[in-house]
Amino acid sequence: MAVETHGTGTLPQIKGVKDVPYDELFVSGHRTCQGCESALVMRHMVKASGPRTIVLGSTGCMYVANTTYYTTPWVVPWMHTQLGASGSAALGTAAGLKVLMRKGKIKEEKINVIAFCGDGGGADMGLGAISATLTHKDYNCLVLLYDNESYANTDIQLSSQTPYGAVTTFSPSGSKKRLMHTRWKKNVPGMLAAGHPESRYIAAGCAAYAVDLMNKIRKALQLGGPTFVHTLDPCPKGWDYHPQYSQELGHLAVECGIWPLYEVIDGVCNLTGPTRQIAEGRKKRKPVYEYLKRQGRFAHFAEEDVEHFQHEVDKMWTEWLIPGVIPFTVAAKDQTILKIDKKPLHEQKTA
């Protein structure tokens, strides 16, 4: 197959579907489930980055289901890394390339370094290493966290990214306990953006908004330094729905306000896609029930569980300092001095 051979000195923003590169760098050979949205993330990721890319992948579905010996789907160079090591893999690879180029041991050129991890590998086990990497501003590398909201490869166990109340093999619904899992989802991109002021790009995306996602990957690589992109990926096996609805569920997660799309560029937060429209009041946030009722993992929900879920999502939009991004509110007595406008976003005056 034809692979572009030019370097990736610049990665221009993609203007629309017709502008998307034709070349596929993640091809057949993988054996992910039908409707696997994470596999689509892989495809979009390397489409956006182009051929002068090295990909490191931590253990999980995107390793185990993707790289069977003799049938690798990766056209670009690819290497496995350990479950909690995506941050270190990115850093070590970027540092190696940098010093070898500086010493003239390999040709000087821009090579994109992307390390991906699942939610288990990135939000639980490897969070510390990702955090460390995001402070090493001299190295160019992107960590992509594909979030299918469970330890999927090991048979769907709950992670810190599994939504409240969802059934997993570690959190079944039983006669005594309807909900085994009652922790709210950890806010990874928000926490990383807040905690790593020198990272030039941190974003939340979704493959259901493919062009938006590809542009986020390109911006991350283009701006350079250590960057981070988190995608929410519907997973038919773990979420228990028919594979044909993956894209639809991705849309619903965003439209119900559960998964806000945004990017933080050089410390400036920028809402994107439908999330921006919701914030501007141009689009009404759908009730979370629309999303929950489509998935078997929430089939055991009682009315009060749906209400709790809705209440928490509402808080993200009405009480959080930055809706869906920064989770705390400011004490009433400090709101004036900090010039915090407590009106819902769409009622606020834009400057």
Binding site: H80, S88, G96
Partner: protein
């Protein structure tokens, strides 16, 4: 901690300096033109990282020096830097070494020639940080080459050997040099620092060949081979480890020719064994008090000697068989333990006994556990070891015992 690397003029002449084992390794890093190293604090190995940091800060070497967020990251960082073709260095001690264990295991599985030091240290609880070999020894089955140094000079020399042997395409395995905590990491000795020109002759450029991860060579590293191919691949690792034996011999001969050091055998260092009847066998710095004891006991007419092991992996079985079968009894001293192992002995004891098993005429091999947690091996203990070894001679079964030395009752 006082690590002092004396500034020396950057002229390419061989010099002699008083330095610790850690500082000697830092000099080797400079001479080897290491590309990437990753550091994390834990005593005693981190003296190397402190010394190396000074060399970098003073412009004596150009290395990507990454202070990691933990040992797991530390070892993963250099593993990945190595995969894109960088010469790398890393290290740890005791519980830090164990924190990195996952990365340590896969580095060998991937055949990436990472060079590390393990500044040997007890595994903390119930509260001990002195030297003990169980940290290094925990990786003995995984495909790491494991040399042990006795002196600061040997530490530097072994480090240069480590890149040469580990990166050799016939081997392509990681190397972890054992350095006894405090006794070697932080004791100063006179060290000869070779010239850059001589080191360049000894150490070829690192070349991963067709295993290099680069867009011009778009390979997939560590695809899922599972039961279908894993045995073939493990067997290749085994063959690499076997080949390492001759590659070490070759490198040792070349090293001797260039630098005039290294002793007769790359694997064993024998002390007063020509006419010896009873010898002790061990590795690392315990050789020093044992040599003192040997000189003293020889004055009293005892025909005693020492055989020091320089490479634990690959285990030089033939050399050991040849050497130890000359004696009436051998006392194997372990600065480690292997609870519940055959005859409740140490790791080295059981390895040596296994190596000699098929000999028709074999010496009695008796085990000693000594110097754990950094306890000094004092002269009365050394005498005790030799007396017990001598007493075991002639009765092969009396070797089925392991004595704990210098322990309060």
């Amino acid at each position: 901690m006082a690590v002092q690397v004396k500034e020396r003029e950057h002229q390419d002449v061989e010099t002699e300096q008083l330095m610790s084992g850690c500082e000697a390794i830092a000099e080797a890093i400079r001479l080897a033109d290491v590309d990437v190293m990753a550091a994390y604090p834990i005593r005693p190995y981190d003296g190397v990282m402190q010394a190396a940091a000074k060399l970098i800060a003073n412009g004596k070497m150009d290395v990507e020096y990454i202070v990691a967020d933990g040992e797991h990251s530390q070892f993963e960082i250099v593993k990945h830097a190595c995969a894109v073709g960088s010469r790398v260095f890393v290290g740890s001690s005791g519980v830090g070494w164990f924190y990195a264990f996952e990365a340590i295991a896969v580095t060998a599985g991937l055949r990436l020639p990472v060079v590390a030091i393990c500044g040997n240290r007890a595994l903390d609880d119930p509260g001990a940080f002195g030297t003990e070999h169980n940290d290094s020894l925990a990786v003995r089955d995984l495909g790491w080459l494991l040399p042990w140094a006795e002196t600061a000079q040997e530490a530097m020399d072994l480090a240069l050997m480590a890149w040469r042997v580990g990166e050799d395409k016939r081997v392509s395995l990681p190397v972890a040099i054992g350095l006894d905590g405090a006794f070697l990491t932080h004791s100063q000795q006179i060290v000869k620092i070779p010239t850059q020109a001589a080191v360049n002759k000894f150490l070829p450029k690192f070349d991963l060949g067709d295993r290099l991860l680069h867009p011009d060579n778009p390979i997939t590293i560590a695809p899922q081979v599972d039961q279908d191919w894993l045995m073939e691949i493990r067997m290749q690792n085994d063959q690499a480890m076997r080949k390492a034996h001759d590659v070490i011999s070759e490198a040792h001969a070349h090293f001797k020719e260039l630098f005039g050091r290294g002793g007769d055998s790359p694997f064993l260092d024998e002390y007063m064994t020509d006419d010896a009847e009873y010898v002790v066998f061990g590795q690392g710095t315990l050789a020093l008090p044992m040599k003192v004891a040997i000189r003293r006991l020889r004055k009293e007419g005892h025909k005693v000697g020492l055989v020091r092991l320089k490479w634990f992996r690959p285990f030089p079985t033939q050399e050991i068989v040849k050497s130890l079968s000359r004696f009436k009894a051998v006392g194997v001293i372990d600065r480690d333990y292997s609870f519940g192992s055959p005859y409740y002995g140490g790791v080295l004891y059981n390895e040596v006994r296994s190596a000699l098993y098929s000999l028709d005429k074999r010496p009695t091999i008796v085990g000693f556990i000594a110097g754990l947690g950094g306890r000094e091996i004092e002269q009365p203990m050394a005498t005790d070891i030799f007396e017990k070894t001598k007493a075991a001679a002639g009765d092969i079964k009396s070797g089925d015992t392991c004595h704990w030395i210098g322990v309060r009752s």
